[in-house]
């Protein structure tokens, strides 16, 4: 194993074909490793953030709120309260004497001013340590203001980003089932799409064309009342392996709502996402319509993709993203445009995800869990990747080495999901790998 990989991390890196046995993952990041992951708070915040008519207040000193203000391109078709950043902004005085009064006052004032449908109260690192009883305050304010006020127990050190997803799901689960409105027969909830660059709307359009009713979108373009009534959908369609699976499981247990995992990236996975829903409802009509949509969309897309494929054939990609499900879709999507994936990694994948990746990948692909700049930059050089697909923190790794980059994370402003997303993805990979500027970096 390469000497730049820390001893503690050796088993979190594998090569397809040569390393059998399950990958080690789901571990806290090693101190000093410069992990690309964030924390529990981050996990909960990214998941709940797109609920647009809720008040999101971060209980703690200012940093956590400042760094997550309007952080994602999660779009809303209506209210935009989620784009405000609220913090109790604890100072030394509250750290010594307790932050409960400031939280109570803050919640009361903000609810009066902004009239939200619910409030999420995120506890950050020091809240538990200074002994604030956040639950008590939430209960009190909920009673006084007559809206749900939900504690989100997210001290950064209590696990990893993935634990934050779980915490968020638990907060959401407290909302589910508190409203009971009738829904049409073919009703689904879309879980785990955050409507970055309006991607949710692209998917919703496909489902609507099929004749499927979208009940709640959790949490992209999310609304509190729709989530409160989510238990009435016939099916939870869950994207992204990590973030929303826990809510789907909780809803299965309590409300007997079945769920399925899908992905909307790439033609294959997108089409499967439609077929699987049609299959679930056991409806020939839905299936026929799904086929029509796929035929129409793919028919339109393929000639254009072929053009890109001819030009991109043989290029090599490095993929390092948050969730492993997305990584799996990306391998397939890249293959469709002739690009070979030579490095695949994720921040939060589990052992099964990595097994799927191993099987899907070409021989000697590097597979990595919870990586860092030292490893990623070495991998990219070894594998001579031409393009890196990742988030903001990976961009300088690609650019400093002198290869292309495609942002597939929260801050993207181009839709990459669905059929039109596949087209945008091809365009972006083409633009970044074919730019004439690379001759100056040789």
């Amino acid at each position: 194993m390469a000497n730049y990989i820390l001893t503690e991390r050796q088993k979190q890196v594998a090569r397809s074909g040569s390393d059998s046995g399950k990958m080690v993952c789901n571990k806290p990041s090693v101190a000093g490793s410069v992990s690309q992951r964030a924390c529990v708070f981050c996990g909960s915040r990214v998941v709940l953030y797109p609920i647009a008519d809720a008040l999101h207040i971060i209980h703690g000193p200012i940093g956590c709120a400042a760094y997550t203000w309007d952080i994602r391109g999660a779009m809303s078709s209506g209210p935009e309260l989620h784009r405000m950043s609220f913090s109790t902004d604890l100072s030394e005085k509250e750290v010594v004497f307790g932050g409960e009064p400031k939280l109570y006052q803050g919640l009361t004032e903000l609810i009066e001013k902004y009239n939200p449908k619910a409030a999420f109260v995120y506890s950050t690192c020091i809240v538990g340590i200074i002994g604030d009883d956040v639950e008590k305050i939430c209960k009190q304010v909920a009673q006084e203001k007559n809206i749900p006020v939900l504690p989100v127990q997210a001290p950064g050190f209590q696990g990893s980003k993935k634990d934050g997803y779980k915490v968020a799901c638990e907060a959401l689960f407290n909302l589910v089932g508190t409203l009971d409105l009738p829904v049409p027969k073919y009703s689904i909830n879309i879980l785990g799409d955050f409507n970055l660059a309006g991607e949710l709307w692209i998917l919703m359009d496909y489902y609507k064309r099929m004749g499927v009713h979208i009940n709640a979108t959790i949490t992209g373009d999310g609304r509190v009342d729709a989530i409160r009534n989510a238990q009435n959908a016939a099916l939870n369609v869950v994207q992204c392996s990590g973030s929303m699976a826990h809510l789907a499981r909780l809803m299965k247990e309590k409300y007997n709502v079945p769920f399925m995992h899908v992905s909307y990236f790439g033609i294959e996975d997108m089409s499967d996402a439609l077929y699987e829903v049609a299959k679930f409802f056991n409806s020939d009509e839905l299936m026929a319509k799904a086929r029509d949509i796929v035929r129409e969309e793919v028919g339109r897309l393929m000639p254009a993709l072929q053009w890109y494929r001819e030009r991109l054939e043989g290029k090599r990609a490095a993929v390092y993203v948050g969730g492993a499900f997305k990584a799996i879709s990306l391998i397939k999507a890249l293959r469709l445009i002739g690009v070979k994936t030579v490095i695949v990694g994720s921040q939060t994948g589990n052992a099964d995800d990595y097994e799927v990746i191993k099987k899907l990948s070409d021989e000697d692909t590097i597979i990595v869990d919870d990586s860092n700049p030292v490893e990623l930059s070495n991998f990219v050089k070894e594998k001579q990747a031409d393009v890196f697909i990742g988030g903001v923190k990976e961009r300088p790794i690609a650019h400093k080495i002198g290869i292309g980059f495609c942002d597939h994370n929260h801050e993207r402003k181009e839709a990459l999901a669905g059929y039109e997303g596949m087209m945008n993805f091809a365009k972006e990979i083409y633009a970044t790998t074919m730019s004439p500027i690379w001759k100056f970096t040789m």
């Binding site: 503690e8 990041s29 101190a31 700049p373």
Partner: protein
């Protein structure tokens, strides 16, 4: 002058960041230094992301990655593992350690952790550490705390030399490069600190430099104690916030004056002609040489530009926001060119903003001052003020967009435009660039909103 406080106890859309970010900037300004944040993984990752989006450069910051266990029993083991792994991966010359709200609240003794580590291990990097709980002050307090910690750790007293110290505060890489050029032109050796002009705006090398080249060297930091004098930009620094080396020391320059008797020249950020004159006069005095012709001409051209554009800017009502030292300098500059700062806002609350502005524009003025403020409060005040222009970082964009007024981007962060590192703010040349941008923003606004569509304006 009216001082406006937040109408709501919570902070809505903060106009400040947390202390460890400021400390990380200072660490990035030291050659061979890798920053380590003693706290949860998120702190370092968030700060990295925030800085990468502005600088478009790698910003590797390590974390001791507190777990639940560490939060209960202390982060000592994480600290040792973290240091070992940083050495294995980065092999840095220096490690700068910043604490967090978490490690401070549970009472971590970072001094002792470092002492233990260096006691038990040979050939370790040089360490220095700074206390930066997020609940005390803002990123600027972290910045100045770290600058103080660095000189306190490395400066050596000695026979006074002919070299000087320049501590520019939180300026852009372009500003730092300009100061270097200035030192060459004045033929003076200076310790510029912190110097992240390369580490956060580097050339392309086809390498992911783990520890990017550039930065103030430790040898230079050592020499700060025997310098002829210090020049530091700012007047607020750490004032108003408790700090570990004593309340009276608010900056690295003050520390060197107090402990090593290095004369200190505190002048505001040199933005505008008056402020730049002050700076150049200090430089001329210290070097006992006149202003080089190149800079005289830059000054002359700037005055010429003031003349040519004075009517575009006269009486225009501006909102300025950001770090206190930065907005004070901007207010003085706007005052100098006949613009009217109608709202001066900062997330920081040192309590000295009002008196500083009184000094610039005279008492009895009608500027609204919002210190300890946030963007939501600014937005509410601005409905009444009807400003013509905003000047500050990119986070004010949503207000400018809503009010349909131009925003001239300056300071930190600039997350929605390209080239933030290369924005030059200081000296005659930096003022020229800022002035041109302000004038053009006002012209563009007029042109875009005119029914005629003038080609000359």
């Amino acid at each position: 002058m009216a001082t406006i406080s937040k109408p709501i106890s919570s902070t809505r859309n903060a106009c400040k960041l947390c202390a460890p970010l400021g400390a990380s900037l200072v660490f990035k300004g030291i050659e061979g230094c890798v920053p380590l944040i003693h706290g949860s993984q998120g702190c370092s990752t968030y700060i990295r992301r925030y800085m990468i989006s502005h600088y478009k450069e790698p910003v590797d910051i390590a974390s001791t990655n507190f777990s639940e266990e560490a939060a209960v029993f202390g982060g000592g083991q994480n600290f040792v593992t973290g240091i070992n792994n940083i050495i294995k991966q980065y092999n840095p010359a220096v490690i700068g350690v910043a604490s967090t709200c978490l490690s401070e609240t549970i009472g971590e003794d970072v001094d002792a952790l470092i002492r233990d580590y260096t006691g038990q291990n040979k050939h370790t990097p040089l360490f220095f550490n700074v206390s930066t709980p997020s609940y005390c002050g803002t990123h600027m307090n972290g910045f100045h705390q770290a600058a103080i910690a660095a000189v306190a750790r490395f400066a050596k007293s000695g026979k006074t030399g002919s070299h000087i110290n320049i501590f520019p505060g939180f300026v852009s890489p372009a500003d730092i490069r300009y100061l270097k050029e200035l030192c060459i032109d004045f033929k003076i050796t200076a310790t510029l600190f912190p110097d992240y002009s390369e580490t956060l705006d580097n050339v392309h090398t086809r390498e992911y430099q783990l520890v990017p080249s550039g930065g103030t060297t430790i040898a230079e930091l050592e020499k700060t104690g025997s310098a002829l004098a210090t020049i530091e930009f700012g007047t607020v620094f750490n004032r108003g916030v408790k700090n570990s080396v004593g309340n009276s020391i608010a900056s690295a320059g003050e520390w060197l004056l107090d402990k090593m008797s290095v004369a200190n020249n505190q002048i505001g950020f040199p933005i505008g002609i008056d402020a730049s004159d002050k700076f150049f006069n200090v430089l001329a005095g210290l070097t006992q040489s006149p202003m080089p012709e190149k800079h005289q001409k830059e000054r002359g051209r700037l005055i010429d530009a003031y003349v040519d554009a004075h009517k575009y800017v006269f009486g225009k009502r501006a909102v300025i926001y950001g770090e206190e030292d930065f907005v004070i300098a901007l207010a003085a500059f706007l005052h100098e060119i006949g613009m009217k700062p109608v709202l001066v806002a900062s997330g920081a609350a040192s309590g000295v903003l009002k008196s500083a502005l009184d000094e610039i524009v005279g008492p009895g003025n009608d500027i609204c001052i919002a210190d300890g403020s946030d963007f939501a409060t600014m937005r509410e005040i601005m409905q009444e003020l009807k400003p013509d222009i905003m000047i500050g970082n990119s986070k004010g964009y949503y207000i400018a967009r809503e009010m349909k007024i131009p925003l001239v981007r300056a300071g930190f962060p600039i997350h929605d435009r390209f080239g933030a590192s290369r924005i030059h703010h200081i000296g005659y040349r930096g003022t020229q660039e800022l002035f041109d941008r302000i004038v053009n923003a006002l012209i563009e606004y007029k042109q875009e909103n005119s029914p005629v569509g003038y080609k000359y304006i």
